[in-house]
Amino acid sequence: MALRGTSVRRREDEPLLRGLGNYVAGIHLQNAAQVYYLVSTIAHAEILSIEIADALQAPGVIDVVLNKDLDIGPYPSGNPIFDDAMIRPLLADHKVRYVGEPIAAVVAETIAQAMDAAELIEIDFRSRPVIIDPEKALSSSTLLFDGANEGNIVCRMQAEGLEADFSSCEVISEVRTVNNRLAPAPIETRVAAAEWHADGRLYCYNSGQGPHPVRSAIAKILNLQEEQVRVISRDVGGSFGAKARPFPEEVLLGWLARRIGRPVKWVPPRSDDMVGLGHGRGQIQYCKIGGSREGNITTYQLHIVQESGAYPAGGAGLPSNARAMLTGCYEIPSVGFSSVSVVTNTTPTGAYRGAGRPEAAAAIERAVDAFARDINMDPAEVRRKNFLQPHEFPLVTPTGSPYDSGEYEATLDAALEASEYEKLRIEQQRRIQSGTEPYLGIGLASYVERTAGAGRAEYGALELLPGGQLLARTGSSPYGQGHHTSWAMLISDQTGVPMNEIKVVHGDTDEVPQGAITGGSRSVQLAGAAIWEASSGLVEQAKKIAAELLEASTEDITLDTSSGRFHVVGTPAVDVGWAAVSDYLESATAGPRLLHSEEIFESEGPTFPFGTHIAVVEIDRETGFTKLIRMFACDDAGIILNPLLADGQVHGGLAQGAAQALMEEFRYDPDGNPLTTNFGDYPVISATELPFFDRIVLETPTHINPLGAKGIGESGTVGSTPAIQNAVIDALSHLGIRHIDMPCTPEKVWTLINQHH
């Protein structure tokens, strides 16, 4: 029986749960020194002087390094459209621009000694005015950088040739909505280590999303050949997009290791990582939507102010993803888009679960709800009237996204049915009439999102080991996704070799020749497809050997994938297995031969999973407290490889969506001091705040890859965030409340209820 489509349990869990994980902090490097980065506690200042003499004399201190000591850097711009004047130094030079910016690297025998020494470094600052509000930064006379083309503006984006024409609209709705800044907060911080080997090669241990792009970045900045650098990522404790690129602190380790002639390790504490690891989201969205009173949406326009943080990194470029997904599930003839990315004295922003696509969905789903409210029509009906229809696929959207397949209305119907939507609406009215019971809110979001949108190619290889076992090498490196289970399932289905005889190697640039990041929900559909095709290739090679063993011609050989044995068509009683094939190759007179199949799968384009999420919330009318009581998620991500792993991805995504809508927000005071730098102040959501999730799985295949699979890693976040926000507003709309920005905290909701009573 095929394993594909079955809920095979994650085989990586047992060693992880038993504490046998191989994380960077636990890797023993002989004679390693510890690095601690002294970071700025001031949001915006000139550095007049730095006094390190006392720190250098402190016990255990090996070295203290400042920007002036470096012969490398700055950190290359990640995007050609960013203003070159805003390029980031590896350590702060004459200025600090946010709290958390590394100023000095303190290297000591122990981490405690390094931290103690860091407290002895005296810095004379001349503070400068601070800008936190991105909209004020647009026109402020306080500039973060000298010589930038347009003040604090990093870049602008438009949708070329498109202009939204509202002239024929009977009704126009406008919403300004803030997509709140979040801390990704993976369990493992950006731990890293570096060690030079006698052969002149640098080994970098990394907790990221894939070693090969890290190798490129490190080699480039340290002026090394890529072959001189080996990057190793074994087990990684989460990332959510935030570790997609190595941070300056990580890149510097190789330089520090060379300078002191010893390996170095860096294990940043949580409080530092909360301001050091890139933040997610951070958009102010101006949505304008128009159409007829009958509910036909004809026009939509979105303008985004994107917070870049103090230096443009991944976040400044995210509006391009929002532009690609501008119109969501809907057929809208007239659209417009513009964005401006701007620097502020805050932590640089980057990718976070969905990276621009959840923001696009949040904007249009909020706008569609506002429009439905203004024409007094049920939000489910407005969506239904405007969906792209199945017969229209494949199609290209006004902003250029090549949608592959979609059954949007089917997901709406399934979610409405599962939630007993009509009954919920009746109950909602009854609650309002009751006068005391909690308000009920029902929120919808129908989404489509883009997966495998960046980096179309991925590497997979399979080889036969002595004894008939298989070794796979994959270019995609997991940080919680379950590649070891999924890839073994695919290989087992193709070869008939049981999963426990299949080993998967990832996360090592010496062990795997090429690879890209695991991100954008790309792994199964690209790396999985590569492994699938490489497996098929290995079977074809093995058939030739089986033919020799069975004294038949290769065309007559077939593989029974239920047993993993080859036989001549029609005579299954006489067969050979993979072990026999391996033995034969080992004993070959010309010396051992290897069966090895390699595949670089390249897709023709991204895929576009979709779905409808319905959130049900209760709001305590006296306290404003919102409780998410039901969460229905109908998701269609094409053919599902492992339903259990897909459930896990969706559950985590729904939780993060609920967290953004109700709980989480990274906050600063007006002086640029971060207020939420630990898990007491930054409310990462937990199971106790979440309901049991109701999942409805639909499977509309894509033609883009041989597995028919789309990505499911981020959909949970894309749909749930606006669904829950819409639910809160829906619960209060009878009071005349039109909008609430996320997170919908108790005090915010209470204040609005008060204003409208």
Binding site: S271, E622, T623, M663, R667, P683, T688, P746, E747, W750
Partner: protein
């Protein structure tokens, strides 16, 4: 983060801990469960130079029936209180409130004496002991003294314990038939209360205490007085924030806290049968 350097000594009895306190003076802190102190040290908000570990003074972990009251050892853990049969039958509010502290890991290490000595106005157990009209027993070089819970909490993270005194026991009146209720308002189950209200009703007398409505846990005296004067629960609760100075933080403004105190007091009183 990693705490600043400190010396560590383990005390094997209350007596030994007290003499160590006398020896080290204000540079020392007692370490019990460590779930308030250690995070503050890691953030370097607390920088004691000596930690006196009393975590293994096992003879201070108990709940005992003393006739009209229960005696609870200072080093009794929240998880122990939560499940203790005697406490659940004779003073159920305290067992219940203990079950609302933090998460299971915290309740497995944190102690009632540590929580009271830490005197955080946002903590649950100090307010519960206050509502019960409990007594705190402190032992110092010159012997033992009893402190009424109404006199114990003196300021922001400050109690009336002297520098060389150790909190050894908490005494609470038995109240098996009492009506009681605890309202804890927070965003996540594991969090401190944004506002909390404990109500204990014995006979015709009702005690009400407030969590996180000032620099210390406080009794809602205006509510208690209103009830004594015969006002109903809903109207009495309107006085919950009288004479309070609620703090501001990321979760709530003073105005919102005052409102929450009124709403939660109403609910606590009504749930207590008023």
């Amino acid at each position: 983060m990693i705490p600043a350097a400190f010396d560590y000594v383990r005390a094997h009895s209350a007596q030994e801990a007290i003499s160590l306190l006398s020896e080290y003076g204000d540079e020392a802190k007692l370490l019990a469960g460590g779930h308030s102190l250690l995070p503050m040290m890691k953030l370097r908000l607390a920088v004691p130079t000596v930690l006196i570990d009393i975590g293994r003074v096992d003879d201070l972990s108990y709940v005992r029936d003393q006739g009209d009251h229960l005696a609870i050892g200072a080093l009794t853990k929240h998880g122990f209180l939560e499940t203790n049969a005697l406490l659940n039958s004779e003073c159920p509010i305290l067992a219940h409130v203990a079950s609302k502290v933090g998460d299971p890991q915290v309740r497995h290490r944190g102690t009632i004496g540590g929580s009271l000595a830490h005197s955080d106005s946002a903590s649950d157990l100090p307010a519960a002991v206050l509502a019960l009209g409990g007594t705190i027993v402190a032992q110092g070089p010159n012997g033992v003294r009893e402190i009424s819970s109404t006199d114990f909490f003196t300021g922001y993270f400050e109690s009336s314990l002297a520098e060389d005194e150790m909190l050894t026991e908490i005494r609470v009146p038995k109240s098996p038939g009492a009506n009681w209720n605890y309202q804890k308002f927070n965003r996540r189950a594991q969090d401190w209360a944004i506002v909390g209200v404990a109500a204990v009703r014995v006979g015709n007398s009702t005690n009400v205490s407030l969590v996180n409505m000032g620099s210390t846990p406080i009794r809602a005296e205006a509510v208690e007085a209103a009830l004594k004067a015969g006002v109903n629960a809903e109207e009495a609760a309107l006085h919950a924030a009288d004479d309070t100075e609620p703090p501001t933080d990321l979760n709530a403004s003073p105005e919102y806290r005052a409102h929450l105190a009124r709403v939660l007091t109403k609910r606590a009183l009504q749930a207590s049968g008023l």
